[in-house]
Every structure is written in structure tokens, then in C-alpha cells.
């Protein structure tokens, strides 16, 4: 099919922000029982290097006939030319994605949303806290930082999963543990394999191992299941990290990704254009950001 270009009376229609471009799935393998890893390249190779994005941003991915949904980019812009995602089988589109084979195509548009404020984070200590699927956006940030290692201070990476089988990118992180310039701590809630060599316990137990922290000089980035936020935030605030330096990425239902369809609206913000990265301060004063109740009682 050829793209139509419609000339209106006064001017040519600008690019259509809803227009997906076709990308080819070049690699696809399971990370856990219900999460797959995907690597995609544009069908039109000239496009390959045009996709500029920042860690924390997301794209809208579609399968023609099935629909479209938002997914974080898990790869880093410091390694251009391809995009990586980890996708959990949840419903209609995601299960169709699971049926896709390598070499098949999907529609991608984006990148959308804000991103981790790398300009402000540069020169600071970085603490990344990932729980479960929360790795998806945080891996992008982590890899970006590691690729630009000299621009950042101390980097700590905390990662928790339910059990060893559920830990996304497990092998990748075990390799990272070898690095001197990264403090990488991994934990599982429960070891059901008997072969787990790292910590067990909730992710908050890792905080005990952190030692002294230059809290005012630290940016924390957190992503994980809603229940995790409550406890992790308490710890981070207690450590003295300023609320506006604690960052998190949020999820909402989305149909457009560009602030039109309304679904992700929270008060005057749209999660898709004003987020998905928010600070803990945003969450505290925007009552609805992580749902009624979660932030109600927190005054700290």
C-alpha cells in the first residue's frame, strides 16, 4: 500500500501522529513463563537510525486487526538501530504478540511520553529499584547509564522478583554483577529452585545493604507493581532522598499515546504526555496518580 498524501486547501496535512510504521521482529524469546523479549528493526532500513528516544519513553505497538497498546522501550538509545521490549501476556493484543514469529511485522509509532531527566541526573548518584515487570523501562535507563558510565556517580541497581524463574534478564544481570562500577543487588521473594545464590526476601530487604548514601545527591528511579511503591517509597524518603528526585513510571489505560483519547487522564495531566515518568512529589499531590488510598495517608 502506498501512503496517500492529501493536500488541503491551505496546507499539506502534517505527519499523522497515529500512523504506525512497520517494524520487523528480528528476535523473540521467552524471559519467563509469561514474559517475552522482542527485538525489532524497521522494515524500511532508512528509518533505522531515525528513531530517537530516551530512557523511560514508550511506543504504541500494533498488530493490524488486533489493536494497539503502549509498551516501554527496554533498549537504550546509546545502542541505536533497534528497539527492544519485554512484554507480558495479559490480554488480547499481548497474546497475539506471543503468537508472532520472528521475521513477522508489527506497527510501531512513537516514541512518546517524557523520560528520565538525564540532564539533571548526570553527575548524581543513581539508585534504580526494579520489581517484576518494572525492569522494562528501567533496563533502558540502566543500560544508558552504563554506556555513559563516566557521566554518573555511584550507581546502585536493586532488582526483585517473585522467584528465580520470574526474574527478567536474570543472566544479563548476573553478568552485570561482575562489574566493579555497579552495585547490583538481586533478590527473590522466595527461592523455589533451591539453587538461588543471591538474596531472598522482599526488595526492601536490600536497602539494609546499601550502606551510607549521599541522599541529597541521589536520584532514584523506581518501577514495579503498585504494592511495591508504598514500601519502597517509605524507605527512599527515610533515606533522605528529596521527593522530586525519586522518579517512577506509571501505567494507565491508553488508546492514543498522544494526549487525545483521554483514557490516561489524571486530574490535569495525561500519563502519556506528562508522564509516564513522575516524581514522588507529583504522586503525593496528585491524589489519583497511584490510585485512591495509596498516597492518602502519607504526609511525609
Amino acid at each position: 500500500m502506498k501512503k496517500m498524501c492529501v493536500v488541503l486547501e491551505d496546507r499539506e496535512v502534517q505527519d499523522n501522529p497515529f500512523q504506525p510504521d512497520m517494524w520487523r521482529i528480528v528476535r523473540r524469546y521467552p524471559l519467563t513463563s509469561d514474559v517475552n523479549f522482542y527485538q525489532a528493526r524497521p522494515v524500511d532500513v532508512d528509518e533505522a537510525l531515525k528513531m530517537n528516544y530516551m530512557p523511560g519513553q514508550f511506543i504504541m505497538l500494533s498488530i493490524p486487526g488486533e489493536g494497539e497498546a503502549p509498551f516501554c522501550i527496554s533498549s537504550t538509545p546509546s545502542r541505536p538501530g533497534l528497539l527492544e521490549f519485554c512484554i507480558r501476556r495479559m490480554g488480547t493484543l499481548t497474546s497475539s504478540l506471543f503468537d508472532l514469529k520472528e521475521n513477522q511485522t508489527v506497527g510501531i509509532r512513537g516514541p512518546y511520553g517524557n523520560w528520565f531527566p538525564l540532564d539533571k541526573m548526570e553527575g548524581k548518584d543513581i539508585m534504580i529499584v526494579a520489581g517484576g515487570m518494572g525492569v522494562a523501562p528501567l533496563r533502558s535507563l540502566l543500560l544508558y547509564i552504563l554506556d555513559n558510565r563516566d557521566k554518573f556517580g555511584r550507581v546502585t541497581y536493586l532488582h526483585g522478583a517473585k522467584n528465580p524463574g520470574e526474574m527478567l534478564f536474570r543472566d544479563e544481570f548476573f553478568q552485570l554483577k561482575e562489574r566493579e562500577d555497579l552495585n547490583c543487588l538481586l533478590t527473590v521473594d522466595k527461592d523455589d529452585t533451591g539453587k538461588w545464590t543471591e538474596r531472598t526476601g522482599l526488595i526492601t530487604t536490600l536497602f539494609k545493604e546499601l550502606g551510607p548514601i549521599d541522599s541529597k545527591n541521589t536520584y532514584a528511579a523506581v518501577c514495579g507493581p503498585p504494592i511495591m511503591y508504598k514500601f519502597v517509597m517509605e524507605h527512599l524518603v527515610k533515606l533522605g532522598i528529596p521527593k522530586h528526585q525519586i522518579l517512577m513510571t506509571l501505567e494507565r489505560r491508553m488508546k492514543c499515546g498522544v494526549g487525545k483519547c483521554g483514557h490516561c487522564a489524571v486530574e490535569y495531566l495525561y500519563t502519556c504526555i506528562d508522564g509516564p515518568v513522575f516524581s514522588w512529589w507529583d504522586v503525593l499531590h496528585m491524589k489519583e496518580l497511584i490510585g485512591r488510598g495509596a498516597s492518602d495517608k502519607t504526609i511525609a
Binding site: I63, G65, E66, G67, T92, S95, S96, D99
Partner: protein
Amino acid sequence: MTRPSPKIGVYGFTGCAGDQLMILNCEDQLVDLFGATEIRSFVMAKSDNHEAELDVALVEGSISTEAQLKHLKDIRERSKVLIAIGTCACWGGPQAMKLGDGKFEERYKKVYGNAKITVSKAIEGQPLDAFVKVDMKIPGCPIDKQEFLKSVSKLVAGKHPYLLKSPVCLECKWKENKCLLLDGKFCAGPLTKGGCGAVCPSHNLPCVGCWGPTDDLNVSAEYDLLKEKGFVPEEIITKIRKFGGSGVMELVKNLEKKEAKK
């Protein structure tokens, strides 16, 4: 990429056969439908039926005899996906409007007396999901042609069908109708799943609820509103239950309990 054509079976239990008829009413698409799928069984439309493994079973009607129940279980076992089509299959339909009132035997006797009927034992009409797992419901009395075709087209393409989840009022407003509730008419629109194109309100007639309950209905608010408009409780409940079957049974019971407390 060509996909193998899905093996489909169309079955009917107790109901008016309207949903199967609506399939036959897809005059413009019927030939394509038979071409894009392998219709293994469709007793209402053809004689050469063979009962074997199915990708998709489209089942109409409620279950109201033991023999039907046995047949349904057999269909379920042979089918990858079982779709309830029509309000009878989804919620029980009109024959389930008094579901759970404990008076089925009484009504049955009034009709058949003590006559012995040997074909099968009758049971009170109930929707398919009272007995087997139902993968999807396409409600409607009868189903809407477009909604049905859209769903089947997606199934044939190996995609997931999408049905409107909103109430009739959505399409009613798209048609720019003035709300009949404002005129004190009993419109079941807010309680009823949309997808019909709001035909009745567009004919100045209240929605009778034939699509069955919507995803998220506020029965007690509608009840209060109608009482305020002068309807008596019995009539309100009759109208809510007319097509609601199993979908409103509990809701109405709760309503009645709440009323009794008042």
C-alpha cells in the same frame, strides 16, 4: 499468509432460532462466510453435518432439557472456543425471566399437567455458562448482523473479537435521540448492553433490554428513578427481568432485599 479456514459448528438450543436466522440473514456475506470457514455443522441450514472437532462453536439458545445439556457438554468438549450467541445463550433469555423464583415446576404443571413426556426431562431454561465454560458472549435478541460479522471476521483472521461494553445510551446519543427517561418512559437503555444501534429509542420507543445486562449497570439507581416517575415496583422488576435472566437475577434479589429493609 494464509490461515487454515477455521472449523465452525452452529448449534441451537431452546430459543427462537433468531440468532441462527441472523446468520442466514447475512445475505451479502453468506457465500463468503461459507467460503472462509469450514462449516461442519449447521443443522438449520444444511443436511450434511458432521459432528467432529471444532475451532469455534457458535451456540444459540438456553439449556432446558437434560438431553440438551448432554449435547452442550459434548460440543464443549470438541470445541476450542465456544461462543454463546444471543441473549438466551448468554443470559437465559425470556424463558429465564423468572429464574430462581422456585416456581418452575408449578408453571410446568400448568402447561403439561401430569402428562408424561418421554423425549427428555425438562429443566428451567438457563444460559450456557451455568453448565460449561463460555469463552465469549455475543448477546442480542437477536444478535446484530454487523456485530456478529465483525466478530466472526476477526475469529477467521485469528484475532480477538471486540464488542461494545457500553450501554445502549451510547449509540442512542450518537443517533441524537432525546432521552426517553426524561419523558417518564421506562427505558432500559442504561441497564442494557449496547451494540444494537439503539434501534428502539431511535423509533421513539423505550429500550426493552433485549441485549441483556451491560457490563456495569446501576440497577438500584434506575429503580429509584423509575419509582420516582411513578412506576410500581412489580412492573419495574418485570421489565428489568424480561431479558436479563441470570445476568440480573442477583442484582434484582439484592434490590428486593434493600427494598424490604426500607
